[in-house]
């Protein structure tokens, strides 16, 4: 068991993201933030891209952040934190600061996959000692559920609404975790708040590694997913169990799947409780469901083969 990760020990730690924030009931993001901060045994300085988490957690004169926190703009959380981390190195080298501090950026999928992609890629390539956490709820939820490059195939969004001739999103999701791993960073992983111990272990592992790290965490959004608020964690669990959101890590180029469902569930189990996929269950859209299942099967196969390549 990694250091400090038993429930007993965790229950003694202070939650560094306080209650009283204004995130929606049923939002995955604050749960993820709390878990990530619990996973650190060091002081953390955080940066936050503009988005739901940012606008709801620091409305002047209140802040939910009990740690130093900076919001700059939408597309630059990674660049901003790279500046903070560089100042830390500079002041440490000069002997003006002695604390061991960890640096974590939080961004939604819009601020990470799309508008913040260049900033993230640059920061990772430059090798800053930081962990970037993307909470991926699959659309621009803060501005009202617009399509992003993380939106799943077939999903109904406000800028690609399912209509009589358009069946929702007609493009595949960008595989950002793979792209980040292709930067040859020492650690990239996918996690889910449903599998909290897996998530905490990954955070702890990532923070122990020097250099740039990336974690992609599935996050439910009852407004955008058109789902029940009390299904938040259950839906992310179904995402994992259907292999829509495989849990794995790539450490120094070696892929390891960290959770393999005993029996892979049908993608319908993940899609059905979500209103954004309602139209896919009409008879004429059956081909879309088939296609989504095929895409997931193929990627899961590929991931297992990738893991097998490194198995001793």
């Amino acid at each position: 068991m990694p250091k400090g990760l038993t429930l007993k020990e965790l229950s003694k730690k202070e939650i560094m993201f306080s209650s009283g924030h204004r995130m929606c009931a049923g939002c995955g993001a604050p749960t993820i933030v709390k878990m990530v901060l619990l996973g650190s045994n060091y002081p953390v300085v955080a940066a936050n891209a503009t988005g739901c988490l940012e606008v709801s957690s620091c409305i002047s004169d209140y802040t939910a952040w009990k740690i130093p926190w900076i919001h700059n703009a939408f597309e630059n959380a990674a660049a901003t934190l790279s500046g903070v981390e560089t100042m830390y190195r500079s002041l440490k080298k000069q002997g003006k600061i002695n604390d061991e501090i960890k640096f974590i950026a939080f961004g939604g999928d819009g601020g990470t996959y799309d508008i913040g992609f260049q900033s993230l890629s640059g920061a990772m390539e430059r090798g800053h000692d930081m962990l970037y956490i993307c909470y991926d709820n699959g659309a621009y939820m803060n501005t009202g559920i617009q399509r992003s490059s993380a939106t799943p195939y077939g999903a109904d969004t406000t800028t690609r609404p399912a209509g009589s001739v358009v069946p929702g999103k007609t493009e595949q999701r960008k595989n950002l975790t793979k792209i980040m791993a292709a930067h040859n960073i020492p650690y990239a992983a996918q996690a889910s708040p449903s599998h909290w111990m897996d998530l905490l272990k990954k955070v702890q592992k990532a923070l122990a590694i020097k250099g740039p790290k990336f974690m992609n965490v599935i996050s439910s959004c009852n407004r955008g997913w058109r789902s029940r608020t009390d299904d938040a964690i259950q839906l992310t669990r179904l995402g994992v169990e259907t292999c829509y959101w495989p849990l794995y890590e790539i450490e120094n180029g070696v892929t390891k799947i960290t959770f393999k469902p005993k029996e892979k569930k049908s993608i319908g189990d993940f899609l059905k409780p979500q209103g954004r996929f309602k139209h896919l269950f009409k008879p004429e859209n059956e081909w879309i469901l088939r296609k989504i299942q095929e895409d997931i099967d193929r990627e899961w196969e590929r991931l297992q083969k990738e893991e097998a390549c490194f198995a001793s």
Partner: protein
């Protein structure tokens, strides 16, 4: 002891930055700024500064990283030109709204389209209302001196605002001039130790930077930001006085040249002021009372002081090396007109747009403009209020 050198403007400012020795620098290449930061990078590679450099993937990220680094609690620099400044536009407002004392040389260059790498002021003029302090520089010496003074102004506890040091691309950045360097120790003592204010890296006292402020307090926040600007001119003067004691070189909010008893005058920024002064001397030799005003602190603009300096003239031409599309006049003209508006008796004011995209500004141009002013001063009637000069017809 001052050291006399022959260097380019870029080299001079790079040397000022070395002497200031900032904690962090984030930068991206763009002509004509590139040479400055190449030189600075070589200081890092040769252990002549303590600076940690971030070689970012865009100017948007360079200023974003500067915001993070400055909030973290240290002295931060970047530099840019033209399109790079345009790409930073969004973050310019965040840097000033967050009250971060970042210092940024801007080597002025024309904006696209059409793409053009040469010097004009359309880049920094587009950013004149972004909440940054702007110091403009006629030559390499002024750029060097402004760069050193910029840190004291930006980091003043009553200011804490970012500062741009503007200098003409190529004309100054790439021309070798004679100038005087201060001793490293003098510069070090002049700028002093960086004083932290709510540093993000103070984990014992966690602070949140970049809150959401809606209709309830946004306007109060903005008004407070404007009030900070009203303190800037006096602090610029105080810093200039200290600088003069050390260097012997005097600076004000603006420079006046043979203006006190002048009847006609030019208002002009940066390198073209030098050319204009020579022509003014020729007119003075002919017995014509000509003078010049060259703004230095362009933002916040010292309207009252500029108005007082110009109100007694009969005719004034404001020469703009940038156009302000849709407003009919160049940006400096608009500010001078605003400065003079409160006075009952005031000069006739005309505007010439010159030197766009690096087009030469020649003594003949100044001569033509001054001759026109002589005529206007006699009749009190202006011809065209705004014209392009040095342009093919």
């Amino acid at each position: 002891m001052a050291k006399v050198v022959a260097v380019t403007g870029n080299e001079a400012v790079a040397n000022a930055l070395r002497q200031v020795n900032p904690d962090v620098c984030a930068v991206y290449p763009i002509t004509p700024q590139t040479e400055m930061m190449q030189r600075f990078a070589s200081f890092i590679s040769n252990d002549l500064v303590k600076t940690e450099i971030i070689l970012v993937e865009s100017e948007h990220s360079s200023l974003s990283a500067c915001v993070g680094a400055s909030a973290a609690g240290g002295r931060v620099i970047t530099a840019t030109s033209s399109q790079g400044l345009a790409l930073m536009f969004e973050i310019l407002f965040i840097a000033s709204g967050t009250r971060l004392p970042i210092v940024m040389p801007v080597v002025n260059r024309a904006l696209s389209a059409p793409i053009n790498i040469h010097g004009d002021h359309s880049d920094a003029m587009s950013a004149r209302d972004a909440g940054w302090i702007q110091l403009w520089s006629e030559n390499g010496q002024e750029a060097y001196d402004n760069a050193i003074q910029a840190f004291r102004i930006a980091e003043h506890m009553d200011v804490r605002l970012p500062v741009m040091i503007c200098m003409d691309g190529f004309i100054v950045s790439h021309s070798i001039e004679r100038l005087e360097y201060l001793e490293d120790e003098e510069v070090k003592n002049f700028v002093g130790e960086f004083k932290q204010l709510n540093p993000l890296l103070d984990i014992e006292h966690p602070v949140s930077y970049g809150p959401l402020i809606l209709t309830d307090y946004y306007m109060e926040f903005r008004k407070a930001q404007d009030e900070v600007n009203t303190k800037v001119p006096q602090i610029v003067l105080d810093v200039a006085e200290d600088f003069a004691k050390m260097s012997g070189r005097k600076y004000g909010l603006f420079e006046t040249y043979r203006l006190d008893d002048a009847e006609i005058g030019l208002v002009i920024l940066n390198s073209a002021a030098g050319t204009s002064k020579d022509v003014i001397d020729e007119f003075r030799d002919k017995g014509i009372k000509a003078g010049l005003l060259k703004p230095r602190l362009y933002r916040p603009f010292p309207y009252r002081e500029v108005g007082e300096a110009l109100k007694h003239l009969k005719a004034v031409c404001v020469l703009d090396r940038a156009d302000a599309f849709g407003s009919s006049f160049g940006p400096v003209y608009l500010d001078i007109a605003t400065s003079l508006y409160p006075y009952k008796e005031k000069p006739v004011l005309i505007n010439k747009i010159y030197g766009l995209g690096g087009r030469d500004y020649l003594p003949g141009h100044a001569e033509t403009v001054l001759n026109e002013l002589v005529e206007i001063a006699g009749t009190g009637i202006p011809g065209s209020l705004k014209e392009y000069i040095g342009v093919r017809e």
